[in-house]
Subunit: 349 residues, 4 copies
């Protein structure tokens, strides 16, 4: 069995990976580390795991936290993974990080990102950047397979990039006025209670936030620009709607002259024909169709009357947007089939 | 007191008006009529009204349904009001209709609308169309004051038209690639249970529907084209999110060269300076801020980096999107201040 | 107009009273005081009030907080009102307090209560206790009318006491095994975000808490014991369910030999015949029927097969359970009809 | 692989079993049958299954519906399984039925049950009743292992019986005034839209229903009476709360003289020591802790002050309350470990 040390075990991103690996035939979690909520079994903090995973949660400075591992997964905020990863890499361990720490493979790109977030712009492990991979398997399968360090993508970024990648690469959209209108469930904000996520404030309510400078925009622009061979800047509107899980991104841009719905649909199907987690359709879907699973459902719904490309992208922000992508990356990093342990639907309803 | 006969009393649009008129100082409901759920007090069907409104619900053919009234309100589906209104007008009564029957003041426009819906294109009261008014007070105050027949606007249309009207009239948006990305609460689908509105299907779920040809698009295009002096066609994406009440419409279009956020904000504030129900701001709001009230909250949030006009429009689909607009129209039709009986916030949370 | 100074204006209990008094013909809020969130208009914190109530929120030590008032309302935690009220009473002002500070009219009873909560047992205004009234109008109308100090009841207490009062007084229930199985909406926990109220934790979830020693139990036992002329101890199970507003309390006890559903129903109707906010029925209702209003809906549903009294009590925890009861008390304290400003249904749905 | 024919494949009970068996190592679904929604793949009706289970749904009279099977599962309403099962039994197939058809193993008990429901009291397969088993593994493991016909228990019944079984058998509760106060998520009402399950009616709302004569009461009384050796009649209050999944049952009864919390807790732990799906605790839990899984969480929380046994039982109504119990039964019926394919937690949050 491949051994995983999970740092940041007690957040939603951590517990999501624990749930997935409980049923994985070849990868197991051997060590749980967290900054707080330590000294008790993980099932104390997440009682649904009682009897299934009762491993102790250690703090990083405890001896048990240094146990053997083949890979260290950082389900931690920005700036944590980059500080701890170099020592692990020296021990020959692979790294998968959930934050922005390893999503950009130059210090300059990282600085831009950090500036946008308003955090310290110094990268503490620049030597790891060069060979790090952006962990979106559908676009970077080979690179991920060959990298020791992988940066798991942002949840919105997964929805937007996969939704627009075929159009960007195949020239099915004008690049100057792309819009990503993104609705997320509240778990996207993590485990920590905040006023806007307080049930009485969040129920029966919808609101937009951070109308400029959301940190995921950079990943989307970078990936789409690479595919288009052309610099893309896009308008991004993140919104919170009263659900726990799911992202629905409505993606718009102008259709080039002569580009039809039929052509776009066909190009999308072709682009993703070898990607088992991407389901392309021309009928409306729902976030419910991907809830609890690693699938991405893309609806191609161009409006030929107005000449507009319109793609609706649906993911579960905690699975394909986080822990599921993480496992998909782990599978690739260790030479397994990407669907291993992920080949299941969510529970309906 | 001004006397209202309410036809279609037992739907959400009817009960919303009943609730509002219970606290109105000058307008009262005297007669309740419905197609089904008759023969019992309205409080039998809506127990929250018990002791407050226990009026009997009659069918249209009962003698009590013919009682005196100053105005007849049709909270009914398409094609009902147009059949019943002519006889009422002959008795000197005014008409307010919630459906598309009187939103278009020529038979040709009505035919286009009916075609889009796939319903019979014949208008049964063409003689009433010419002087009918489109019941959006912020744009048609004078016409409504002078009309005997008013067509209450569609809920999405209220959110989109008010969100784009200043930009359209003042040339603050290019007219060829406007997008209305609209999220609605489920009450927008009415009282009748349907699969997509079944709680286990609708909770924790978001989905788009009717991706071409939503019936409200025509109203929006007509009104904006009139304001812009230019034919506008827009891309409209209606979406259902798991809330009961509220519409959040994200409205996009290209900013003309040199048009800034400051200029747009100022133009919006100016446009609505005499409209007490429209609150313009440059900070993000929420549907919760307008829930249960007749207010429209507009956030002006242009993205200067990408050259995009972005307006976020928030209404309560059952109040400003339906019964509240209806009362606002009634107030104007009878020479009252438009805020009478509507000058209150919703209950928070 | 009667002038209200509201202390604790920025919590749910405060804003609820603001909303109600905006439409009250004879009582107005003149001063808003809070411990935090000061120095800005209340509409900054509650944008739904923008344009309707933009009064500044002051801290208690600012000069504006000392403005004239006929009554001071403390929508504050335990121990606040008792410290501030004596000075106000000396100025001739009446007091209405939302906490447990004035619900018990002896220091000994207060000590028992404080012990149960694990708070300091010293009462700082013992001289005000003797003539204070327990603010449940249906039981203490006369006392409230004649008291300068009124303790607004706890939300669960309102549901349970009104649900069991007729049975207790009329001997329709055995007193030794009464059960109050109480489900509350999450706003009952107030405005402050906490882990159990975080949307992703609270949605699609139900849980019981504080299984012994909930602070409201004492009020219920005291009131029912007084009515029964017999000491009553009851089993109380508070539960949180995924809704924002509402309490549904299922109340059980053994029927004395020969006590039938018919007799109980008749006794309940008789008991409340002069109480306009209590609606007694023998058919199942819902919290939705009282949502947003000051009504209490009681379903009398004895199970004759098993000899069990069963009453289901429905209130809105923020209205009849808090701000609505507060206004009902204010009406009585100032000689107004108890329904003034409260005679309306909530909005459905 | 053991072959399952699933009749009633398109309801929640059917799709739940499909989801579970997709990941089962030894049991597979080979045939899907339904009364409506036929002629298309199951993934047409449940798009979350696309690519994972695209089997065609057949009507019972199609030749494909007669394919080979080791067991036929009826996820169907009352009266369906009893008509179809005899022919299947003759072919040597085992039967598992979700309805009340095989929960009672005498025609007389069935008549009582049918009378309570107001349905035809004739049992059409009386010859199968005698050896049928009540499919609650924790109580009837051996019988289920040896039966050809098993009646899957009702969802409420699972929560109540498992919550009270140890008390009933060990004499830890007086038998004459037991109360089951049961809160269910809305999926308990099935897939069919109904007014009380319409999102705008069901959200932020709680209500009790069928206050006498719920059909699950009989199973609970029968099982508890058998365990107690004493006829038990109980008061049962089914309630709908705004969640999709989960049952929380608060179970009450008088403690016999001298029975303490410690003793009860110990007895419960002992009773279930060999039952891997039952987790006994003395701290409050939540339905969230069992959501999406086959576990039953029991909180033992006696109120010694009032002498009351109080057990809070939490299950997922669609898993342990339906498809999970079904699979647990199938495992036992075919000699597999009962946890096979069920040994996992739900996804949190």
């Amino acid at each position: 069995m491949i051994k995983v040390k999970l740092v940041g075990a007690t957040g939603y991103g951590g517990v999501g990976l624990i749930e997935l690996l409980l049923r994985h035939p070849e990868i197991e979690i051997t060590t749980l580390v967290a900054a707080s909520d330590t000294g008790k079994p993980i099932s104390h903090f997440y009682p649904h795991l009682a009897g299934l995973c009762d491993k102790m949660v250690y703090s990083a400075d405890e001896v048990e936290a240094a146990a053997e591992a083949d890979v260290v997964v950082y389900s931690t905020p920005d700036k944590v993974g980059m500080q701890l990863a170099p020592a692990e890499v020296k021990k020959g361990r692979k790294i998968l990080d959930y934050s922005g720490d390893f999503r950009f493979n130059s210090t300059q790109l990282y600085e831009d990102y950090a500036n946008r977030l308003g955090i310290d712009t110094t990268h503490h492990a620049p030597e790891l950047l060069k060979d790090s991979a952006y962990g979106l398997v559908e676009l970077h399968h080979r690179k991920i397979a060959n990298s020791k360090v992988v940066g798991n993508p942002g949840c919105y970024a997964v929805a937007c990039i996969l939704g627009l990648a075929p159009a960007a690469r195949e020239g099915l959209v004008e690049t100057e006025n792309i819009i990503c209108d993104c609705k997320t469930g509240i778990s996207g904000g993590g485990k920590k209670p905040k006023p806007g996520f307080h049930y009485p404030e969040a129920y029966d309510n919808a609101y937009a936030y951070r109308l400029t400078g959301h940190q995921h925009v950079m990943e989307v622009e970078r990936e789409l620009s690479l595919l288009a061979g052309n610099s893309i800047q896009l308008t991004f509107t993140p919104q919170v709607i009263p659900m726990a899980r799911g992202i629905m991104a409505c993606l718009y841009g102008s259709l080039p002259q002569g580009t039809t719905q039929t052509k776009v649909l066909s190009a999308y199907k072709d682009f993703y024909k070898d990607n088992p987690f991407v389901r392309v359709s021309d009928t409306p879907g729902s976030t419910g169709d991907v809830r609890g699973s690693n699938f991405v459902n893309l609806t191609v719904a161009c409006d030929e009357r107005t000449g507009m490309l319109r793609i609706i992208s649906h993911i579960d922000n905690l699975v394909k947007g986080q822990a599921g992508s993480a496992l998909q990356n782990l599978n690739i990093m260790f030479g397994l089939d990407e669907m291993t342990g992920l080949n299941f639907p969510g529970a309906h309803p």
